[in-house]
């Protein structure tokens, strides 16, 4: 099982997903993020899914859960770089990922995180 690296820059945790996501990888990411948020007190999480070609209902739900977990640590999550084809498919699946913010790229994601404080 692969592990997705989490990088801390300033008050933000950056996650860039570059691999084909297996279920346990996503679950592991969720656990790791919870650990890091608790350990560092970061106030924001940016998850970059520019390289992700498939987001199905399981992964979609996990992303929403990550948003909820972050909020418990008083941190906001922004999902960035969703591909048009993925967005259209998620919409068709009826998933709106409410509870997480979204942005076109990491730069805009940071603007959102900085704007909130």
């Amino acid at each position: 099982m692969e592990q997705v690296p989490i990088v801390k820059i300033g008050q933000t945790l950056f996650v860039s997903i570059q691999i084909d996501l297996q279920d346990d990888t996503v679950v592991r990411l969720q656990e790791d993020l919870a650990d890091e948020l608790s350990r560092t007190g970061a106030s924001g999480v940016i998850i970059d899914i520019t390289a992700v070609e498939i987001v199905d209902s399981f992964i979609g739900r996990m992303l929403t859960m990550i948003g909820s977990i972050s909020r418990l640590f008083d941190a906001e999550t922004v999902i960035v770089g969703m591909r048009p084809a993925v967005a259209i498919t998620l919409t068709e699946l009826g998933l709106s990922l409410s509870g997480v913010r979204t942005a076109l790229n990491a730069e805009k994601g940071l603007e959102i995180l900085n704007g909130k404080s």
Binding site: E53, I54, D56, S57, F58, V86, T89, E92, G94
Partner: protein, 131 residues
């Protein structure tokens, strides 16, 4: 026609990749490829998690007016689905809180057939056509 085992998370990823290849090679648009692979992901996961493991088959088909399409076949010998109508309702979830994703998968494809009986397992067949 390829037959692939579904016994682990790695297998699910492999199924996704093979479906992606088949879809791309047969003229499906990028969005349609994504929809088909996402549906395959849902169904493969069901086969693994709820069916106790099974197999998938990928087939290239041709419609009556000559268009190419990709047909997927998922089968398992798991516990089966007691109430198919309910399972196909949007938002239905099984006992452990994770939705079966069947209704979602159905919306992403052009043709969808589900056969399941408690005790004899489940088979799902889907087709997505190129435009």
């Amino acid at each position: 026609m390829d037959e692939l085992p579904i016994q682990s998370g790695d297998d699910v990823v492999r199924v996704r990749q093979q479906v992606r290849t088949a879809a791309a090679e047969n003229g499906l648009s990028l969005v349609d490829q994504t929809k088909l692979v996402t549906a395959a992901s849902e169904l493969a996961r069901n086969t693994l998690v709820h069916g106790g493991g099974g197999r998938a088959r990928i087939e290239v088909v041709k419609s009556a007016n000559g268009r190419a399409g990709v047909k997927l076949h998922f089968a398992d010998e798991g516990p089966g689905i007691a109430d198919i109508g309910l399972a196909l309702t949007d938002g239905w979830t099984s006992g452990n809180g994770l939705g079966l994703g069947l209704s979602g998968a159905r919306r992403l494809v052009d043709e969808f057939e589900l056969d399941s009986k408690p005790g004899t397992g489940t088979t799902v067949m889907v087709v997505k056509w190129s435009r």
